[in-house]
Symmetry: C2
Amino acid sequence: MDATRRPIVVVLHGAERPPRMTTIEQNATVRYTTSHHLAEALPGADVLLVWDLRSTALAQVWPAANGLRWVHAAAAGVGHLAIPELINSEVALTNARGIFDEPVAEYVLTVMLAFAKDLPTTMRLQQRRTWMKRETERLAGSSALIIGTGPIGRAIGRKLRAVGVAVSGAGQAARESDPDFDSVVALTDLRAALPKHDHVIVALPLSPATTGLIDAHALRAMRPTARLVTIGRRGLIVTADLLDALDSGTIAGAAIEVFADEPLSPSSPLWDMPNVLISPHMSGDVKGWRDELVRLFADNLDRYIREEPLLNVVDKRLYRR
Amino acid sequence: MDATRRPIVVVLHGAERPPRMTTIEQNATVRYTTSHHLAEALPGADVLLVWDLRSTALAQVWPAANGLRWVHAAAAGVGHLAIPELINSEVALTNARGIFDEPVAEYVLTVMLAFAKDLPTTMRLQQRRTWMKRETERLAGSSALIIGTGPIGRAIGRKLRAVGVAVSGAGQAARESDPDFDSVVALTDLRAALPKHDHVIVALPLSPATTGLIDAHALRAMRPTARLVTIGRRGLIVTADLLDALDSGTIAGAAIEVFADEPLSPSSPLWDMPNVLISPHMSGDVKGWRDELVRLFADNLDRYIREEPLLNVVDKRLYRR
């Protein structure tokens, strides 16, 4: 890169611009745009910061990205950015992994404990001013299978182990020894592992290999007392099959944080199911998270300017079809 | 004790008798009674197992306990048993401490996480089929003061530390070094410690020294962002003061599991407060808990018969006025 030239950074935002951009604006020429004007902002730009993760504009205006060298997604999942034009190009793709690991792990522990202690019933009874003792469950001593052994899956594994849960993983390859899991089974052997656990947690990126992974067959392999927690990307779970499984008692319950279509439609039958906890894809959004996202991009931009290796490079091969 | 004579055990129960009494019935003569007939059951009995913890009958019929050597409470709190007749006698008093430590610690972690992740709002929004993202809090990195450094307080301390909470204790004496707490302040210095923490957890037995400990002054010393979790005995907290503090924003919220009068009256204003989580004194009641309570008494009865030291002897001096 020409060291005398400041990089041109396009910031693709939605209703809100990213906060605390001062440092970035000192080191780069920043063009702010929404999806509508992305085509005009891209020509000559070196870097694209995707702040609006729901935008599908890049696929449509890709030819305008004539100087693009790097795309950074301000999220853990790269979502709409996994387009063939980018995936098959030389343009680097990075994400915000790391920032969400701990908050998401806390969310998963929260919903698992809420189910174990039957907190949803307790809250419904409170609304009816009704005192009704029930027996609840211990979480310690139970077992969990975490599908996905990436940074978020590992953070969940460490968090659950800390409170006495026996934790196995399901990843690309089986292995006996792993710092964060008692053992790791291969995703191809998932069906055999599912019946052995009280909790199944889906923490995978969506890729061609994982689309529809949790279908009727997988759900039937789970224990009828088991609960599903999913923080993974849309498309991992076959929603109709999950609805059937919850309705018929194939599994005991589910906490769902990410949906095929967001926001979840008010007409979805999921809202009313007593054994379902719905949260609006916010488990990573702890106070200060936007500041942290910008700080990570600023660090990476420093690396870009100094021609050092970028942090959080996404392995684009996983997204090739 | 006369080794040729089987001990006579009176079981004071309410609507339900304790389960799995076979072993005990093999080793002792068991008289089952409710409060109404306690006076007839006690004469000549060696041991009283108090299964109905809400019974106040013992105080009224104490003179009938003419051979009593040991009273066992099937609970962590000894409640109505802390009567002067028993406290000032030579009769041993034991309780079920230990059995509830882990389940109660899990409950405390559950409500703290539920508040941090704003789960009550998430559930209310789910009932209204409303998708609304909010920013939530991380629990790791926050600080907690556990008032009460007994076995339950310690179990809570270990559980919270395991998920990254900085944990201090408040106990009889201050100390710098403690296996379960970063530091322990003396209860007499409680007021100075309260403003330093994000969470205040009350896990004390009720005794003359602790009655009314959490009053308006203590609540005003807490941070306005702090939340109170109480699993301690009735009487520790001045309910009217807590209501005021919750209503006026003196503190941010409370999870209450034990009440001055149980069941909590349907007319209590606590039920409707949006920043209050009410649970019906059931945090220790995990599946199998009654079996565990009976198993502990059976172990202790073996010790009694073998004239070995009893487990879980209550320090009756704490209850002398």
